[in-house]
Symmetry: C2
Subunit: 214 residues, 2 copies
DNA sequence: TAGATTGTTAATCGATTAACAATC
DNA sequence: TAGATTGTTAATCGATTAACAATC
């Protein structure tokens, strides 16, 4: 009985299920019960069954889950069988690293363009793509119609560029700028990544640890 | 009435408060009420007051919060007034980008060493630090005593290197390898960053959007 | 069939929101 | 003092866990 709206708690766990199931496939595991999977993932069997049943009954009573089948089903839910087109804006250190480090093709997406306003790096090759002037964004988007934009730009420019990209048809933003992107247009998806915040979560833990030890 | 243990929901919001308060300081704002702050952050006044009161009463009835003071208090809680020492393991694209992109000094930390097993990049300068052979890790840690390790290494090596680092006195891991680090030793803090998972959360949203539109 | 394990409902737990007395 | 806004308790909401009938 698939639900209408899925809570973000569940959604954030899906990629992790997908990752672990991928590992199990590599290891040659063909079936797994929710209990076994929960032990590997430091989760609970109940939670896994609840999560999966948001999308449908992928298991079989008395047997468990077929690993290959479940992996594929979750992949479909996440959209890795799509062929989205992504562009990357801002080819500084982080932008280049993302372009080279993330295997977009494994995740239902092709990176088809990289843009920067800094003329000194135009033409440079990153992940097989030449860095283009930001001024070419409009014509590129109008002809290639990418759905996803990866933003690796300074926070001052983020909101302005994002608004421009929405008008060019971008539907999803993976935002690495140190700015909480807010899109007032509906029907736009935003994933803000704050690496600095993540680091501070770590130092909080460390600080707490040290305070406790004293 | 500060609490003993703070829920991770609260902790994960602290860096965001810290960031927004930093922005307010830049803008010259000296005081703010929980209601005003909640509007800027797309949060609720109740949640902000609850969160802050986990750590103490930083506000004043009838007045609100002193922005500078609150920023500093949250900074202390997060540990930005400390002087932690961090090392980075794995100076590939992502490792280099993290070294260059994250302002560790703003976050109570100095990056003091970069290590890689690839001899062809030894001696290269990244963020003012020369890349050292991974074989020098032991002697370096024993003399410099860093507390934090940033792992930008392939997943196959992650667990092994992490265990080694724990024995060398590392207390906190910022882990970018595509692997869920599990430390069996107690009193070790781990922050796993899964950029691939974050991207899949985005494609989930996009896929749902497109399915709905049809 | 008997055993195992799911799908699903019910119970519990925790987090968020609302309300208000305390107080600046 | 009166108005504003906190700190904190109570109410609500949602997420997780437990339990178990359904069923492979």
């Amino acid at each position: 009985m698939p639900k209408e709206v899925i809570s973000s708690s569940v959604i954030k766990r899906l990629p992790r299920y997908y990752r672990f199931l991928g590992e199990l496939i590599k290891q040659g595991v063909t079936r797994i019960s929710s209990r076994e999977l929960s032990e590997k993932m430091c989760s609970t069997a109940s939670q896994i069954r609840q999560d999966l049943n948001c999308f449908g009954g992928f298991g079989q009573q008395g047997y468990g889950y077929n690993v290959l089948e479940l992996h594929e089903e979750i992949g479909k839910i996440l959209g890795v069988d799509r062929n989205y087109k992504a562009i990357l804006i801002g080819a500084g250190n982080l932008g280049k690293a993302i372009a080279l480090h993330i295997d977009f093709s494994k995740r239902g997406c092709s990176l088809i363009g990289i843009f920067d306003s800094n003329s000194s790096i135009w033409g440079q090759d990153v992940a097989g793509i030449k860095i283009s002037p930001a001024s070419e964004l409009d014509s590129f988007c109008l002809s290639e119609k990418p759905e996803i934009a990866v933003l690796c730009i300074p926070k001052q420019n983020a909101q302005q560029i994002a608004n421009r990209l929405v008008n060019l048809g971008i539907k999803a933003f993976w935002n690495f700028s140190h700015y909480d992107l807010r899109i007032d247009y509906k029907e736009i998806v935003v994933e803000n990544v704050h690496l600095g915040d993540s680091f501070l979560t770590l130092t909080y833990g460390l600080t707490t640890l040290i305070n406790k030890a004293q």
